[in-house]
Subunit: 220 residues, 2 copies
DNA sequence: TCCTGTCGGAGCGAATCGCTCCGATAGGAG
DNA sequence: CTCCTATCGGAGCGATTCGCTCCGACAGGA
């Protein structure tokens, strides 16, 4: 690591400690995405380190602060969103189908999870620029649905953004949470058009719901 | 207050300090509902006291703990929900219209706001009993929509509950939040049926949205 | 004037969090 | 094998926050 040219370029080192460091980098990123997705963006950094199977010190050597880690995740997330929007533009199917697929993928990836702390940390300039790009792409995807008459005319891309953000924030503590979220998203997506299709999966179960309120130790 | 028969019965004292104490009781309840609605149920007790224009000591003399205050609010909330469901059963209109009105009112009142902390505090027995009653009433309201064919057959009352809870948790920091929430709820409600009606209000504005991310001091 | 009950908030103890610092250790060079 | 260096893991610090207690101030009623 004494050669400054290779500093920050990690794709080449494959053996020994450098390889471990490299693995830890991506493990931390995956863990951070998962933990922030499950517990919200004010989750403790220690939880991320634990999830990654890594010490706190290791985490902080890569990402100088929690804010920098969040920025890195935002950067990755918006890049992914842009890629998916680009793919949606080339995809086959009606405008509604393409839009629904994109929104489903975005919610699954929690693309709007960080909207909850809007204004609490600064966004890298590249991210705000990428956001503009994503907005323009989304406009084109939505227009396609408007043009072929499969998406109602009175929805805008900002409505789409709000929906993705709200569903991204929905908790995922249990499988029932996932199930409920998918059904609600299907409802909302059907609200974008007519006629309706069926809701996904079996009907939700009140027993599972009650377990959530009872806590892990059964009813009080 | 030396007569035990009048202890806890406050509707009679109208003058002096007892009247002030009485006013403070309801001001605290209103403030608690508002603060929990805006900041979530983990909002600090001091914020409630400040909102009510009351000292913390005054608040704690009425409600021995934050948990008791939450329980009181749950009790009031479920009673209100039951009353609205009863009214919905007698209301005129199609099954979808009645259901949509009820759900809109429930979301406006944040009837599902406390679901976020399910399992973190114990529910009074009366509340769990009232919940069962509300569930039965909701079943009848939904059945009406199924019977007259205005509500799709594959939604259940638990779906309705999930929708109310999710929208109840949606933040309300600005008017734009309210606006976005109303539009999304209209979308989801339309997802319950066909054909569609229009979304409420003007189209959302990206400029307002950006202000949220920029924070109170403008863009970075 | 005195007493009773109410009010408001300073502040305590506990819990949590972001982050630093350092001893332990694994791997490569000689 | 020995030594050196880069990396790892986590104890713990300082700051912050929160629920709650405690007490001095004070407004009526007798």
């Amino acid at each position: 690591m004494k050669n400054p040219e290779t500093a920050g370029i990690r794709a080449g080192s494959r053996f020994g400690r450098q390889a471990e460091a490299e693995r830890n980098d991506v493990r931390v990123l995956y863990a951070a995405r998962a933990v922030f997705a499950e517990q919200g963006a004010d989750a403790p950094v220690s939880a991320i380190a634990a999830r990654a199977g890594v010490g706190i010190g290791t985490l902080y050597r890569r990402y100088g602060s929690k804010e920098q880690l969040l920025q890195r995740l935002c950067s990755i997330g918006i890049a992914r969103t842009i890629a998916e929007l680009g793919a949606a533009l080339k995809a086959e199917g009606t405008g509604w189908e393409v839009l629904a697929d994109y929104m489903t993928a975005a919610v699954d990836a929690r693309a709007g999870a960080f909207a909850a702390l809007a204004g609490t940390f600064s966004l890298p300039e590249e991210v705000t620029a990428a956001n503009e790009q994503a907005k323009a792409l989304a406009e084109r995807v939505l227009r396609r649905g408007h043009d072929d008459g499969t998406v109602r005319e009175d929805v805008t891309t900002l409505d789409i953004t709000h929906v993705i953000e709200m569903f991204s924030r929905y908790p995922r503590r249990t499988e029932e949470d996932d199930h409920a979220r998918r059904r609600m998203l299907a409802l909302t997506l059907d609200g974008l058009r007519a006629p309706h299709t069926g809701l996904p999966g079996p009907r939700p179960d009140w027993a599972d719901y009650h377990r959530t309120w009872d806590g892990p130790d059964g009813p009080s």
